[in-house]
C-alpha cells in the first residue's frame, strides 16, 4: 500500500546540512498497523511526513496505492492527499471551529455540499463517541477528546491510509490506551492501513503488527512485532524495549544472586535469561518439565510475561541448580522448544 524507495532527506542546518533520512526503504502492506519507533531526532517524524510529502525528500520515490506521489504535479498531489488521513501529536484542531466544523473541514476543502457533509460527519462523531459535544470548541474539551476529533477529521475523506504522528504522546496512559483502541477499531472496520510513529514501545505492543526501528535516519531493524520483541537484534531496539521488557538484570538482583551462588562449585548452577513467544512456556508447562525430567532446581528470579495480539510472550531470568550434565540437558531442552536462551555471565 505504501512503498518508500531509497529516501534521502537533507535539511540545511545551522552547522551545515543535516541528514534526517539516509536511504529508507519501507513497504507497508494493505490493511496493516505498521509501527515506526525511534528516539527523538532519529528521523521518525521526517519519515511519516514523507509519506504524504509534507516533507519532500531530497531523493527517492514515495508510492501510495501504486501512485508515485513524488512525480505528481501540485493539483494531483492535493487530490492524492485527500486519500491519506493524518493525526498529530498536538491535535492541530482549529480553535475557531466547533468539533463538528473541525471534522467537516476536509470535506469543505474537497468541495462537498452541506448536506453531504452532515451525512458524513454525524456517523463519524458517533464512531468516536463525541456526538454530544458537536457544538463545543476545542478549548472546551479534554486532550483525549481532541484526539478523537483529530481521528474523526482524518477519516472524513474516507482515506485508504492513516498516518499517526505521535498521536498519543501528549496523552496520559489511560487515554493513550483508549485512543489506540480506537485506531485499532478503524483499522479493522475500514481495512485502513495505519502507519504510526511513536517513541513508546507500549504503543507498538498494543496495536502494531509490524514494526520498524529507526535510528539516525536509517531503519536498523524491522519485522513482526512478536519477533522483534522476543529477539531484538539491534542495540537501539533493545534499549527501546527496555521500557516494556527489561533487557538486563537490575544490579540489586545480580547482587542477591552472587550471594546465593557464593561457594557453589562452578558448573553446578547457572543463570539463564530466556525469551519466548507463543504458548510454549505459558501452556506447555515447559518450566516444570525441566524440574521433572532433568531433576534441576529452578527459581524464577526476575522477569515478566505479557501478551502481544493475544500471543503470550515474556522474558524471564532463571536460576538453575543441579549437576553439570543435567543443566546442559535443561538448556538444550529449552532451545529445542524454541525458546531463546542466553546465559547470564556477569554473576
Amino acid at each position: 500500500m505504501i512503498r518508500l524507495e531509497n529516501i534521502y532527506q537533507t535539511y540545511p542546518g545551522p552547522s551545515g546540512p543535516v541528514q534526517a533520512l539516509r536511504g529508507i526503504d519501507l513497504h507497508v502492506p494493505q490493511g496493516q498497523v505498521f509501527g515506526v519507533i525511534g528516539r527523538s531526532g532519529a528521523g521518525k517524524s521526517s519519515l511519516v511526513r514523507t509519506i504524504n510529502l509534507l516533507n519532500r525528500p531530497t531523493s527517492g520515490r514515495v508510492l501510495v496505492a501504486g501512485q508515485d506521489l513524488t512525480a505528481m504535479p501540485d493539483a494531483e498531489l492535493r487530490q492524492a492527499r485527500q486519500g491519506i488521513g493524518m493525526v498529530f501529536q498536538h491535535f492541530n484542531l482549529l480553535a475557531s471551529r466547533t468539533v463538528y466544523d473541525n471534522v467537516a473541514l476536509p470535506l469543505e476543502l474537497s468541495g462537498m455540499d452541506a448536506a453531504g457533509i452532515r451525512a458524513r460527519v454525524m456517523p463519524l462523531l458517533d464512531l468516536v463517541g463525541l456526538a454530544a459535544l458537536r457544538d463545543r470548541y476545542p478549548a472546551q474539551i479534554s486532550g483525549g477528546q481532541k484526539q478523537r476529533v483529530g481521528i474523526a477529521r482524518a477519516l472524513a475523506n474516507r482515506p485508504k491510509v492513516l498516518l499517526s504522528d505521535e498521536a498519543t504522546s501528549a496523552l496520559d496512559p489511560e487515554t493513550t490506551r483508549a485512543i489506540l483502541a480506537l485506531l485499532q477499531q478503524v483499522n479493522r472496520e475500514f481495512g485502513l492501513t495505519v502507519v504510526l510513529i511513536t517513541h513508546q514501545m507500549q504503543v507498538i505492543k498494543q496495536i502494531a503488527q509490524q514494526v520498524a526501528v529507526i535510528d539516525a535516519g536509517r531503519i536498523v531493524e524491522q519485522g513482526a512485532v512478536l519477533d522483534v520483541f522476543t529477539r531484538p537484534q539491534h542495540a537501539t531496539t533493545r534499549s527501546l524495549l527496555d521500557e516494556v521488557t527489561p533487557q538486563a538484570l537490575p544490579e540489586s538482583v545480580l547482587a542477591r544472586l552472587r550471594a546465593q551462588l557464593n561457594g557453589r562449585a562452578a558448573g553446578e548452577a547457572c543463570v539463564l535469561r530466556i525469551a519466548f513467544a507463543g504458548d510454549a512456556v505459558a501452556d506447555q508447562s515447559l518450566l516444570s518439565d525441566l524440574v521433572r525430567r532433568f531433576g534441576v532446581d529452578l527459581s524464577v528470579i526476575h522477569g515478566q510475561m505479557d501478551e502481544i495480539q493475544g500471543q503470550p510472550y515474556g522474558a524471564l531470568a532463571l536460576l538453575l541448580r543441579g549437576s553439570p550434565s543435567s543443566l546442559g540437558d535443561a538448556v538444550a531442552h529449552l532451545r529445542n522448544a524454541g525458546v531463546s536462551v542466553q546465559e547470564v555471565s556477569d554473576v
Partner: protein, 221 residues
Amino acid sequence: MFDVFTGPMLELFATSLWETLVMVGISGAIASLLGVPLGVYLHLTAAGGVLQNRPVNGVVGFAVNAVRSTPFIILLVAIIPFTRLLTGSSIGTAAAIVPLTIAAAPFMARLVETALREVDRGLVEAAQAMGASTRQIVWKVLLPEARPGIVAGITITLVSLTGYSAMAGAIGGGGLGDLGIRYGYQRFLPEVMLAVVVVLIVFVQVLQGAGDWLVKRLSHK
C-alpha cells in the same frame, strides 16, 4: 465660561464629529481592504511560509516600512499631487482620506502579519495534509484562526487614525482636531479645546471597547 456652547457652536461640534467619523471610517475601511491582503501576502512569502519567497518579501516589507517611517504630516503634503488625481482636489475631507488610507494600510498590514504569525504552524500543516490549496489555507485556516487578532489590529488602526485625522485639518480636512486648533488655539477658546479632547476621549473609548468586545466574542481560545 461655557457660554460659547450656543446653537451654532454645537452644530459645529456635530459637523466636526461627523467629519472625523467619515475620515476614520472610510480610510479605516479602505486601509483594511488593502492591509489585510498585504499582511496575508507578507505572511505567506515570509521564511517558512506557504509561498516562501525571500526577495519578494524583502521588497514588499521594505515598501511597507518606508511608508510607516514617513511622518504623517510629511506624507500628507508629499502626496498632494496623487490626492488631487484621485479626488480632484487637494483640500477637504475627501482629500484627507487619501493620505490617511495610505498611512494606515501598511500599519494594518504589519498588524495582520503579526496576527497570522500567531496561528499555529501545525494547523497549516494539517490543512496541507488534507490536500488544501494555498487559497483554501488562507480562507479556511489562516484568516478564521487569526480573526480575533485581526479585529484587534483594526481597532488599533482606527484609534491611530483618529489621532492622524486631527492633522488633516492642515489640508482643510475638518474634523474634531481641526475644530480644536481653529477655535481653541487660534481664537483663544480653551473650553472648546477641552471639549474637543473630551469628545475624542469618549470616541476612542467607545471604539476600543467595541473592538475588545468583538475580539472576546470571536475568540474561542
